[in-house]
């Protein structure tokens, strides 16, 4: 077999520092986005409840034939 290439220490070093920086970046960004998305979901659910309530009232009124 062809002997393995001796990779330059600079490339090795930048590779693994890029991996580490990526891991930290991914973790930070995930932790930043998570609460925002949760808040959005919560507001969405609240609005849906409100909308359904209004629809229910409108339907009742229409059926009541006021």
């Amino acid at each position: 077999m062809v002997p393995p290439v001796q990779v330059s220490p600079l490339i090795k070093f930048t590779r693994y520092s890029a991996l580490l920086v990526g891991m930290i970046y991914g973790k930070k960004r995930y932790d930043y986005l998570k609460p925002i998305a949760e808040e959005e979901r919560r507001i969405e659910a609240e609005e849906k409840k409100k909308r359904e309530e209004l629809e229910r009232i409108a339907k009742e009124l229409a059926e009541g034939g006021v």
């Binding site: 070093f13 990526g22 930290i24 930070k28 995930y30």
Partner: protein
């Protein structure tokens, strides 16, 4: 349709061990080759290599300042670009590990 599916399942079921051993037989020599190269080429830098890496970085900066970088051949520049892209891909692998999900940010 259902019959055909059942027949196929039966066939896979009866031939399962055979397929598995074929897969092992196929991948073992290839994995051995992979490890033979990966152990040397993909190894993280040893602590002793870090000063050498810093020297390498200094050399890149020096070649940039002295204008040597503008005298690279197209082939060399292309090769350097490919290496830089590869290193960038390691960053994205790190990001995938950091966010613990392959597709997007599953928030």
């Amino acid at each position: 349709m259902a019959q055909a599916a059942r027949r196929m399942l039966q066939r896979v079921g009866s031939r399962g061990p055979q397929l598995l051993s074929a897969a092992v037989a196929y991948s073992r020599p290839r994995l051995a080759t992979f490890w033979y190269y990966a152990k040397v080429e993909l190894a993280p830098p040893t602590p002793g290599e870090i000063p050498k890496a810093i020297d390498g970085m200094k050399a890149v900066v020096r070649s940039f300042q002295s204008g040597r970088l503008a005298q690279l051949t197209v082939k060399e520049a292309l090769r350097n670009g490919l290496v830089a892209t590869e290193v960038l891909m390691w960053f994205y692998i790190g990001e995938i590990i950091g966010k613990r999900g392959l597709i997007g940010y599953n928030v």
